[in-house]
Amino acid sequence: MKLIPRPDAWKQWRPGPRLVIALAVGLVVVGLSMAVYNERVAGDQKLRAVTVQADILSGSVTAALAFDDRPAAREYVAALSANHDVEAVGVYDLQGGLVAGYSRAGSELPATNRVGPPALISDRLVVTRPVTQGATRLGSVYLRTISEPFARRAARYGGIAMLIVMASLVVIVLGVSNSSLAEAHRALQAEMEERGKTEEALRRSQVMEAAAQLSLATERGRAALRQSEQQLEFALQAGRLGSWELDLETRRLAASAFFRANFGFEPDEPVDRYEQLFARVHPDDRERLQRAVDRAVALGADLETECRTLADDSEVKWVQVRGRAVYDDRGSPVRMAGVSLDITERKLAEERQRALLDELNHRVKNTLATVQSIAMQTSRTAETVAAFEEAFLARIGALARAHDLLTEVAWDGASLTRVISQTLAPYVGQGQSNRVNLSGPDVRLGPNAAVTLTMAFHELATNAAKYGAFSSLAGRVHVKWNLDSSSDPVAVEIDWRETGGPKVTPPDRRGFGSRFIEKGLAREFDGEVQLVFDPEGLRCHMRLPLSPKLQMAA
């Protein structure tokens, strides 16, 4: 803040008009007094000077008078006449007669001289002195000088007075003007001071306004920036995206919390070096990540790569990293920025999908192999094409139902009860539900086990329909199973028993069905299976050890 400097006090003092007038009057009075005094002193001096002259003349003419030497007296008178102030000089004898005299034109000498005190007669100073020699009086002298005329003196004093008055006036005028000037100066100074203050205030208000506007603008800018940052942050968080920026020269890394989390860093762990990040990448993926970064920088292409990260726990995380390089005016890469996303879930889903596809392919191939096997063995045993067709389609149908069951439970643990009841269902007519009697605990079958047991029960049911219980109305099929915990290994015992059917006779030769049940089924489960051709009805005893494909339901 700039202030007008305050002048010193003496500089600020200015005389008032009254004081100036009083001073002027005082000057006039003093001037007049001095004039009067001077007049008096001048008169006295003049008188003394003239008296001295008269005395000198008196002394000079003593001898001339004593000896009546008139020429000598005239010489002395003539000498005095050189003085311009001397108007008349006279030397008189004892009787008062003029001995020698001089007078200027227009003036006269008195005829006789009487000695008296000096006298001033109409501006003329008249001094008379006696001429004596010792005690003897010889005569007298007369000296008349021209005193300065009153008018001239008056004029002179008037002039002086005028000068004094003028001086006074000048003083007054100067004083007044000075005082008004001072007033004006003070006013000006006050005004300047006021203006200075106003200007200062204005300047300050301008500065403040500018500052306020700047601050407002800055605040708005900041607010906008904050908002945009918040929106970005929100978007990043909503998308669970990490953000990162890498200085390509210094390899300094700026990473957001999500990014750090993606790479398995603790929330408060400082991460600012590319090397730190690199160390957290799975060793098998480091080269690929570096190649992708180098390629993106070199080609100006988008970086998009996936890598596994090493968290402290053994859990493998997958992170997708996207980014793009930023170049300076000369096209040199300066930095790289982008986002990261935890894609572990997606990767796991992809892996699951891959595994499912592999599994599907495997099952399709296995199913085709099964169909191939059914076709091959049915064809070798069928006596006619019609018999082949019937047997083949029935077996394919059983296989299809096994797949239906497995699909119901997503290929995970089909129920033994369902496998048997579904396989036997086609042979149970309406109102004949008592033809089949099932009882046993819940046993879960793996996919292969479900297919194999379905095929086995299909063969048993087909045989029953041709030669056994299902071939007569009175026939019954009982299937009972239970867990034999006493055996080693623990096994599921399944008993198939037919009753009420025609008398059973052992077949001449073993067909595909019986071979499949006795050998195929037993070998698959590493168990034992016996077919007993009891005349009262066919019996089949299966002893299947528990295994991953054959378990008791929880």
């Binding site: 592999d358 392919n361 495997h362 099952r363 191939k365 296995n366 085709l368 192999a369 099964t370 169909v371 191939q372 096997s373 059914i374 091959m376 063995q377 070798r380 793996g446 292969n448 086990a449 297919v451 194999t452 095929m455 086995a456 071979r515 499949f516 050998k519 195929g520 089924l521 070998r523 698959e524 489960f525 590493d526 295994s547 991953p548 494909k549």
Partner: protein, 133 residues
């Protein structure tokens, strides 16, 4: 049937009864003797280690109900018994250790099986058809 494979004693390790029966059927058709069929790894190991069986070769299903057949393959290799794989997963599903072992992709024809068996069991025997690998 007069074939170079006649009388060769073979082991089948296959966990699907229907498929195992088909392989058995094919091998029998080729004149081979199917010594046994194992449906599990443990049973397969027991048979592979049984010197009395005098195995000439084996056909191994890679996946036995979730279990890999490789321990059986190890046992056979240690006894210098040649074998081939039979798999529904494709030959890419076989571990590095046995990558050189011939593999049959299910489903396969009898001719393909015969050629592969000739290749590994009868050195110098000309294949009777295209060798699938």
């Amino acid at each position: 049937m007069g074939s170079a494979l006649t009388g060769l004693r073979l082991l089948i390790v296959e966990d699907e009864a229907m498929v195992a029966m088909m392989i058995e059927f094919m091998l029998t058709d080729l004149g081979c003797v199917v010594v046994d069929v194992a449906g599990t790894v443990s049973r397969g190991l027991a048979l592979a280690g049984d010197e009395a069986l005098a195995l000439d070769g084996a056909i191994l299903d890679v996946n036995l109900g979730g279990e890999k057949v490789y321990p059986v393959a190890e046992a056979l290799r240690s006894r210098h018994v040649p074998f081939i794989f039979s798999t529904g997963y494709g030959i890419d599903g076989i571990t590095e250790q046995f990558a050189q072992v011939p593999a049959l992709a299910k489903p396969y024809e009898q001719q393909t099986l015969e050629n592969m068996l000739l290749t590994i069991l009868v050195p110098g025997a000309p294949p009777t058809g295209d060798v699938a690998r």
